[in-house]
Symmetry: C2
Subunit: 200 residues, 2 copies
């Protein structure tokens, strides 16, 4: 997606920032089903035609919002140990999901992805970017001898996230630092035991 990347400080970027902000507000307040490009343009103080020409559909706008969130995601940690890196990752996920705005945004986007194929693809891309950013933590742990050779880095990073998203969407238990530490420790222990060794 190259929309809005023309000049960081230019009009294009300002319009994109205002529209994404307005779209996020509307998504959190009303949900995906009620999103409306004309209403988002109104909230953003931007011409309706600009929004229609640039994004075209609500799904494309939500996909661009996820691109923007991926661009802004925190660089991976490099603490020198697997458990340190995975804890940093778990606490980043925790901060995202418990942030009042970002948590509500993720919940709304996950719900939208369950019903809309384009949003589902955008969400998958978002997580692929995040996972590629953090996978080197696992690769370094393999080269330090902390993990078996052939450990699937993607699976380890996903294993850190899974219990936290499970709490958010399924069991609705509190998302707290204990849950984040436990997610990191469980993923590290399972990885050390070879549970994420590549198959096939």
């Amino acid at each position: 997606m190259t929309v809005g990347t023309v000049r960081p400080g230019g009009r294009t970027a300002r319009v994109r920032a205002a529209v994404l902000q307005a779209a996020g507000d509307a998504l959190v307040e009303d949900g995906f089903d009620k999103l409306d490009l004309a209403e988002i343009a109104r909230r953003a103080g931007v011409g309706k035609t600009t929004v229609y020409r640039r994004w075209g559909t609500v799904a494309a706008l939500v996909a661009d919002m996820l691109d923007d969130m991926a661009d802004q995601s925190t660089p991976r940690a490099d603490t020198g140990s697997l458990i340190g890196d995975l804890r940093a990752n778990a606490h980043l996920v925790l901060r995202t999901l418990t942030d009042p705005r970002q948590g509500a945004l993720f919940r709304a986007i996950i719900v939208a992805a369950a019903c809309d194929a384009r949003t589902a693809t955008a969400l998958r891309t978002f997580y692929a970017v995040r996972i590629a950013e953090w996978a080197p933590c696992v690769e370094q742990a393999i080269s330090r001898g902390e993990l078996p050779a052939g450990t699937d880095a993607t699976e380890v990073i996903r294993a850190v996230s899974a219990p936290l998203y499970y709490r958010l969407m399924i069991s609705q238990e509190p998302l707290d630092p204990t849950a984040a530490d436990r997610a990191a420790e469980a993923a590290a222990a399972a990885a050390r035991a070879g549970a994420y060794a590549q198959t096939g």
Copy 2:
């Protein structure tokens, strides 16, 4: 899924079965937002007043559907080993989530729970019942010396489910037997390493 099969009981039970079946069909086809008690009554071939008097709201009807699913859930395994029991649990979750009707139902109910407090409570209750059914697997593993004393049985059972629900709702990766085996093995390894020891 046995909802809709003929069960013992009189007219009351038959009406309930027909209405829950119709509600499930409507939920899978149209989603929670479009559920309508009058339409469900029509599909079920049951009087509208009966449905209004007995359930009153769509959320109450979905809650009753979850109660019915909890009543019919498969009894826990007792294979004699932790990994055997957790694998049986993971494959039960896999079968549920990949069943065309049940998988769609769960997805629809999880989406509804993100927006509706009563459905969220009903979903929490459903999982509490399932977890209570399977927790003895972990308790037996503790008494056999396979797991550290003080291991949180609820957390171990949830850890088996989390990666599978994560695939369903978040990463949209395939739900296959390899994923189920891996979920069981990772939960067992983390539990053995003490990652689910009770805190506090």
